[in-house]
Amino acid sequence: MVLGRAFEDMCAQMYYKMFSFVHFYNGQEVVSTGFIKLLKQQDSIVSTYRDPIHALSKGVFTRAVSKLFSKTTGCCRGQGGSMHMFSWEHNVLGGFAFISERIFVATDAAFTSEYKREVLKEVDCDHVTLAFSRDETCNNGQFFGCLNMAALWKLPIVFVIENNLWAIGMSHLRATSDPQIYKKGPAFEMSGVHVDEMDVLKVKEVAKEAIDRVRRGEGPTLVECETYRFRGHSLADPDELRDPAEKVH
């Protein structure tokens, strides 16, 4: 967690040497630490464009740093970029720019895990996929398609919604008819859980329960973590619409 914050702060300082989009994660570290640290090497994560810290938590360290500087030693050799962290070795299946695309990729990864166990008879295959996404994704039709399929086929996936209340300059409350995202789970016969603290131990408790449930074959969970991003959407964002008092930490 501390590593994540230090990493992002250093990225902010080095931004102009990076020549890239950089989308900071400051304030949301609890979510990635709380969940990802409970995973095994073979478990997968699929992330948003705010993904370097997810990759870091999963063990992609120096190569993540190199990637941001477009170096060939980076995990994608300068081809992907800060928004697209991929590491086959660590089962990091990407950050994606498109907010709903990543949910499908994650659902597919979970489907494959299920397929390996049921069809290819790899009985020890209990790989879990974590699909990280944010509040704005939950207004997108493709999200609902994935929730439906995941619940229908009891896929080994946990949908982790990092509700940081803002999409660039659009408040979650202005964009959403019912802002309580965890309630969308039960509409698809899936457990929906809400964690509203930036408390890593509480998040870890919820995460453990959700991941264990999936490993037992009891189906997916939708977890809504209310969090906050202290910096703007990216360093190019003037961030004028949020109340400065909200951002104090």
């Binding site: 697209h84 659009m170 619409l241």
Partner: protein
């Protein structure tokens, strides 16, 4: 010293006096400079003012003043009923806008980048482009889809694709690609007034660039015809046809070529669909050589279509094979040095023009 101060004070006070006609006469031909951003903003403002059926829809277009500030000030002026901030669901809000257009209102839908339009492409093609034909003319869809298209700087593969060829292949759509501020104003106004769906492809890197604009361009009734290209630079040795940012590169290439005694004619396509085949063919019949330039992927691109048109209509006039300059056939890499290699540069255009003239390119 006091004399200088007095002179400066006099200059200042002269600036405050509205210019007399005699002063105006000497400056009346001097063009004002306008950025593409301001050109687009003023076009939207004027069209919204003239027609209350025109409204804007998109992510961050209202309170955030536009992701690239193109819609700055419009929320304050026209209110939230006509400048709608949408949730992030391109398929959702594009579908809603197309349906609204069926009933005669005129949405201008902003995609934060045309890469995101892929989420809504079913609505653009199936719900908008094909409807007038499928309904045998009963329903027209006066909608504009606009936003930045093509490569920016260091934004990676999912934010850098050019969609001109994809949209231009579809009957029922009009596809425009402005280059200068005059293009931006004139073509956006034409697009909003047009009764058919129009895809308006801007370029993020051009938003801050200034171009001279005449009084005629600044007039609120100014409009450019859809389907007509513009000859930006007359020449006689080789035709270079380009759109959007590549027009600027083609003009720079023409300057370099002039030093080597090659007089290039640069065509700004402006309209990708309908393509101004007659102007391009007329130019090639004059010069006998053609270079097409685009930032997009090469296969099935705009250059390929232009080449086919020349072969069909002006084959006997060609003195050399057509040269096609396009982006590299890879998803846009992220690293700066790789990105530079993946998009056309001025030197590539110069070399291609020389090849058509059978000159050494070393």
């Amino acid at each position: 010293m006091l004399g200088i101060v007095r002179q400066k004070m006099l200059e200042q006070s002269l600036k405050k006096i509205p210019p007399a006609v005699s002063v105006l006469r000497s400056y009346s031909s001097a063009a004002k400079q306008m950025t593409i951003r301001d050109a687009l903003n003023s076009a939207l403002d004027e069209e919204m003012s003239a027609d209350s059926k025109v409204f804007l829809m998109g992510e961050e277009v209202g309170e955030y003043q536009g992701a690239y500030k193109i819609t700055k000030g419009l929320l304050d002026k026209y209110g939230p009923e006509r400048v709608l901030d949408t949730p992030i669901t391109e398929a959702g809000f594009t579908g809603v806008a197309v349906g609204a257009a069926y009933y005669g209102v005129k949405p201008v839908v902003e995609f934060m980048t045309f890469n995101f339009s892929m989420q809504a492409i079913d609505h653009i093609i199936n719900s908008a482009a094909k409807t007038n034909y499928m309904s045998s003319g009963q329903i027209s869809v006066p909608i504009v889809f606009r936003g930045p298209n093509g490569a920016a700087a260091g934004v990676g593969a999912q934010h850098s694709q050019c969609y001109a060829a994809w949209y231009a292949s579809c009957p029922g759509l009009k596809v425009l690609a402005p280059y200068s501020s005059e293009d931006a104003r004139g073509l956006l106004k034409a697009a909003i007034r047009d009764p058919d769906p129009v895809v308006f492809l801007e370029n993020e890197l051009l938003y801050g660039e200034s171009f001279p604009v005449s009084d005629e361009v600044l007039d609120s009734s100014f409009c450019l015809p859809i389907g007509k290209a513009k000859i930006e630079r007359k020449g006689k040795d080789v035709t270079i046809a380009a759109y959007s940012k590549m027009v600027g590169y083609a003009l720079k290439a023409a300057e370099t070529l002039e030093k080597d005694g090659i007089d290039a004619e640069v065509i700004n396509l402006r309209s990708i669909r309908p393509l101004d085949r007659s102007m391009i063919n007329a130019s090639v019949r004059k010069t006998s050589r053609l270079v097409t330039v685009e930032e997009a992927f090469p296969q099935h691109g705009v250059g390929a279509e232009i080449c086919a048109s020349i072969v069909e209509e002006s084959f006997a006039y060609l003195d050399a094979p057509v040269e096609r300059i396009a982006g590299a056939d890879v998803p846009m890499p992220y690293a700066a040095n790789l990105e530079r290699m993946a998009v056309p540069q001025v030197e590539d255009i110069v070399r291609a023009a020389k090849r058509t003239c059978y000159r050494s390119v070393s």
